[in-house]
């Protein structure tokens, strides 16, 4: 490479230096734990307060119940003759069965896809195709095929959770560090050893991420599934309350779904932390 000698510097030589205050650069850390918690709590309280304020306006109160009304609904619904807990338990049951079966089924399928390219080529187009269809669109078909019992709900949730989990777990298996596999081979590991000792633990974090995404998908789909053709469940309760303009019950249902989702996600997060401490 030729370096031009004695080139004239294209930049002016005497640029003025102006001393100013030390510049403060953006801090990308999360800040202190205390500040975070404080702001979280403040934000939630403010949310409730705003909610309370706008429901003071009568025209808004007709379609949006106030915090007090929702609280009253919670009390009356959880009374012995209320149906609150029955709705929760039936919805939870649907989620856990649909999700559970999907979880158990998705892991071996994802591993088969990751391990055998031929299985991948056979299965992948179907998964990619069904992934683009909202499971809710399948509800009419599933109901026609299975009637109005519990089975169609399990099936819809299963489909939603299964697709999300299979794709996530399979992606994870594909991303397992190939050097680890090479290293194990050089130690004398067989394909079987590689599968059990390397692939499974290495893709564990992805299994847990898949489970969280699958759980979120189950919840979303469940509510949609319950909007038609069932009397019990949180989705059905919301739907029913809407017909009686009982917005307190509607809101109670919505909040309950949010809380269930939050708790389930935190539970999975806890499992993840416990099981992948090495990460």
């Amino acid at each position: 490479m030729a370096v031009p000698m004695n080139r004239s510097n294209p930049q002016p030589e005497d640029q003025p230096v102006i001393k100013k205050k030390q510049r403060k650069l953006k801090d990308f850390s999360d800040g202190s734990r205390q500040t975070r918690t404080l702001l979280n709590v403040f934000s939630i309280l403010m949310g409730f307060f705003l909610w309370y304020l706008i429901t003071r306006i009568p025209s808004i109160n007709t379609f949006l119940a106030s915090p007090k009304q929702v609280y009253d609904a919670l009390i009356s619904e959880s009374a012995a003759d209320g149906r609150f807990f029955k709705d929760i338990s039936i919805s939870l049951q649907r989620i856990l069965i649909g999700f559970g079966v999907a979880f158990v089924a998705s892991i071996p399928i994802a591993f088969l896809m990751g391990w055998y390219p031929k299985v991948r080529s056979i299965v992948e187009p179907w998964i990619q195709f069904f992934r683009t269809i909202p499971p809710i669109a399948l509800i009419p078909l599933v109901i026609l095929a299975m009637g109005l019992g519990e089975m169609p709900k399990y099936t819809i949730i299963f489909i939603a959770a299964f697709l999300v989990m299979v794709v996530t777990i399979y992606q994870g298996i594909k991303e397992v560090d190939k050097t680890l596999i090479k290293a194990a081979y050089t130690m004398g590991a067989s394909d079987r050893d590689i599968f059990w000792d390397i692939m499974i633990p290495a893709s564990f974090p992805f299994i847990l991420v898949g489970a969280r995404l699958g759980m979120a998908a189950s919840l979303t789909t469940l509510i949609a599934a319950e909007l038609t053709g069932t009397t019990f469940g949180l989705g059905a309760r919301i739907q029913g309350a809407q017909q009686f303009m009982d917005t307190a019950i509607v809101l109670l249902g919505i909040i309950t779904i949010g809380v269930i989702g939050f708790v389930l996600d935190k539970l999975l997060l806890l499992v993840e932390k416990k099981l992948t401490r090495w990460k």
Partner: protein
Amino acid sequence: MENSIIKIENVHKEYKVPNGKNVKALDDVSLEIGKNEFVCLVGPSGCGKTTLLNIVAGLEPFDSGRVTMHDGDIIGPGPERGVIFQQYALFPWMTVRKNIEYGMKFLRTPDGSIRYDAEKKREVAEYYIKMVNLSGFEDSYPKALSGGMKQRVAIARAYAQNPEVLLMDEPFGALDAQTRAQLQEDLLKTWEAEKKTVLFITHDVEEAVLLATRVVILSARPGKIKEIVDIDLSYPRTQATKMEDEFIKYRNYIWDTVYKMFLEFRK
């Protein structure tokens, strides 16, 4: 060559490049590695150093030629040839101890039974943890270790399998200068205490001269053996060896040869 363990004879290897000319990675490479030799492979990047090491490791096939260990063809990887990678390749879900113990489960006695029980594995791991100065970190996970410590775990893990041959692919390439100097000395000490046959890849000429009994210079594209230089420097070698005139002579000679090839290649 007498006592040769690894024989590489007329090995050719091409990489298929989709819609392009195939790249000749290795062109008629022949090399014998004797018992307890420390052979360093140097050469400009893209000269097929790693390919050659992978072939000896049994991780990559080749097109023609022969690669043998004790006159038996190398047809795949095996615990008699331990490999140490630049990126450490520690299993992140295993503690230091478990990492070192892991490979021992594949060791067999001549009659085919498992060589070490759990207790013996632990004992061997303990010994090598001490050897690489990692006592106190037995139960740490790799994420808690520095790069230098990780590589020491990898070295202990390879030694724990007691391989006859160690294949090291730029093991210190990702480390800072001080850590690298320290690990070079540690490796020299370990090698002198427990002799192994080593094939070591590096692009650092100083490192090659400091460690090796022989330096093999590869040329780039196609990867061919350009020259083999015997390093007649006495052991024990330390960082101070780098100040000796003889050392500097070797280093300059090899560096010139490699750099000339590099310039040639860039044209």
